[in-house]
């Protein structure tokens, strides 16, 4: 019988939305979908996880060593409980990308990264080459260990009533890796990029950190999250956590507005699942217009203030 174990992503206070998306991906695979939470103090997170529809059980591993998600510390704990499960999943966020290969290697099984479609319990689709090709892959017999492309799956509904179990795991924990600090550069004034239904993104075309304020200001007005191209992050206009693309965040908002972004394939890899893409660019030949649902050619420095004014 198939049994899925999902490693919860959280920040110590709240469950990340990526976990509920990973539950959705797991639903066709098994009757039994369990979530394990590694945490130092996890009541609230456990309650949130138990409320996700389709979750059968929530395991809480409370231990001071689990205060920060350090893969070298989490992986041996997961290895210790892995043999009860047919599938071990985490979201393909930086959390899951860092952790899951370490788990797979300890278990001696290959990993399926970035699953975008579940065809059967061991056949999956995943993007390669920045999403320019899709491969259908078959995992060998044995535990299936993988990460889930969260932009491909909606958040599972609430209203679940899973049981919550405290769980102790006794394994050797290495001391060679120590958490020092987290400089959270997400801005609390705007919705989270990975969960937002609207995203306003700026690129190199903004020209400076100061000019980038017009992107924040438009996002404020529209209740949108703020995204950016790599070029904008490299130039220091905006912190790294806003980068969208092959090597940044992969998102699927209802509305994505690309402003002063040319549309390099690496950038497009992050927005392919957006419902509506709007492009504003002064170059009518910019590749972003090939994927945009609505394109407007012109100078962003006149267009953005006009939009803001019209929105009142």
């Amino acid at each position: 019988m198939n049994k899925v174990l999902i490693i919860a992503e959280h920040d110590g206070k709240n469950l990340n939305i990526s976990t509920a998306r990973t539950v959705t991906a797991s639903q066709g695979i098994a009757e039994s979908v369990e979530i394990v939470i590694f945490v130092d103090d996890g009541n609230i997170i456990a309650t949130q996880a138990a409320a996700i529809a389709g979750v059968t059980k929530v395991l809480v591993v409370e231990n001071p060593i689990n205060k920060h998600a350090v893969s070298a510390i989490l992986a041996p704990q997961i290895e210790a409980i892995a043999n009860e499960y047919s599938h071990i999943f985490a979201p393909n966020t930086t959390f899951g990308k860092d952790l899951i290969p370490r788990v797979a290697a300890l278990l001696g099984v290959p990993q399926v990264s970035n699953i975008m479609r579940v065809e059967s319990p061991n056949i999956f689709d995943r993007p390669v080459y920045a999403g320019n090709a899709i491969v259908t892959v078959e995992a060998p017999n044995g535990a299936v260990v993988g990460t889930i492309r969260t932009a491909s799956f909606p958040e599972a509904a609430g209203g679940g009533l899973a049981s919550i179990e405290q769980c102790e795991i006794f394994v050797d924990i290495p001391t060679h890796t120590r958490f020092i600090s987290l400089a959270a550069n997400g801005d609390d004034d705007h919705p989270d990029l990975q969960a937002a239904s609207k995203v306003i993104a700026g690129g190199r075309g903004l020209g400076s950190q100061e000019n980038f304020n017009i992107i924040y200001s438009l996002a404020d007005k529209m209740g949108a999250a703020v995204g950016a191209s790599r070029a904008a992050v490299d130039a220091g206009f905006i912190p790294n956590s806003h980068q969208v693309g092959q090597t940044g965040k992969i998102i699927a908002p209802e509305l994505y507005m690309a402003i002063g972004i040319s549309g390099a394939i690496q950038h497009l890899a992050g927005i392919k699942d957006a419902r509506t893409i709007v492009a504003i660019n002064k170059d009518a030949d910019a590749p972003i217009f090939e994927v945009a649902d609505i394109g407007l050619v012109g100078d962003l420095f006149t267009i953005i203030p006009e939009i803001e004014k019209a929105l009142g």
Partner: protein, 248 residues
Amino acid sequence: MKILVGIKRVVDYNVKIQVKPDGSGITTSNVKMSINPFDDIAIEAALQLKEAGKANEVIAITIGSKTCQEQLRTALAMGADRAIHIETDEEIQPLTCARILKAFVDKEKPELVILGKQAIDNDNSQTAQMLAALANWPQATFASSIEIEENTAIVTREIDAGLETLAIDLPAVISADLRLNKPRYIKLPDMMKAKRKSIETLTLEDFNIEQAELIKVLKTTRPTPRQSGIKVETVEELLSTLKKKGLI
């Protein structure tokens, strides 16, 4: 300190890849090949540590067919001291790759291994973490800064929430992210010199490793293209279109 850098030959990031009509893969003949961009950054990071007096030897290693020597030459031209080619025409997936690297690490005993955070062909992002697991070493993935203090590396990582800093004891594995550095430009004379340097060639038989089971690729397809959109002329038109779609 000895630093090992893994590099992979991949289709150049500027190439628009073509999926073969029969679904058997993507076209790689007559396509420009390069060092995976993240591995390029990994080499640069190792060279910068050497230039800062923190390391005395940089070894570049690749696993793959004969043609991969081209990329090793590039690594030598950048300044790597030695180049190791583990020659095989078999498909090497990340877990097997990590096992081979582990066997090599056991032999050469580097204090630091730097790999790219992902290869831009399969976009797996697995090998560095797997190697760290097999060696029971610390890992610091997606690194945007590395500082070596005695036997510890202080590494800043680009994660979804922001910038995380870890202290990891050496030996350790680090995977390089985009903003770690800008790889140096290779000068022609260095490329010429690199042509004369020797590459140490090994085969899989030189290592006693068990090949991991393969993830089997059943077919390769093109993603469904997005429907082509419309161009609007004015802000007014843009906003009324968005309104119609219920987006504002």
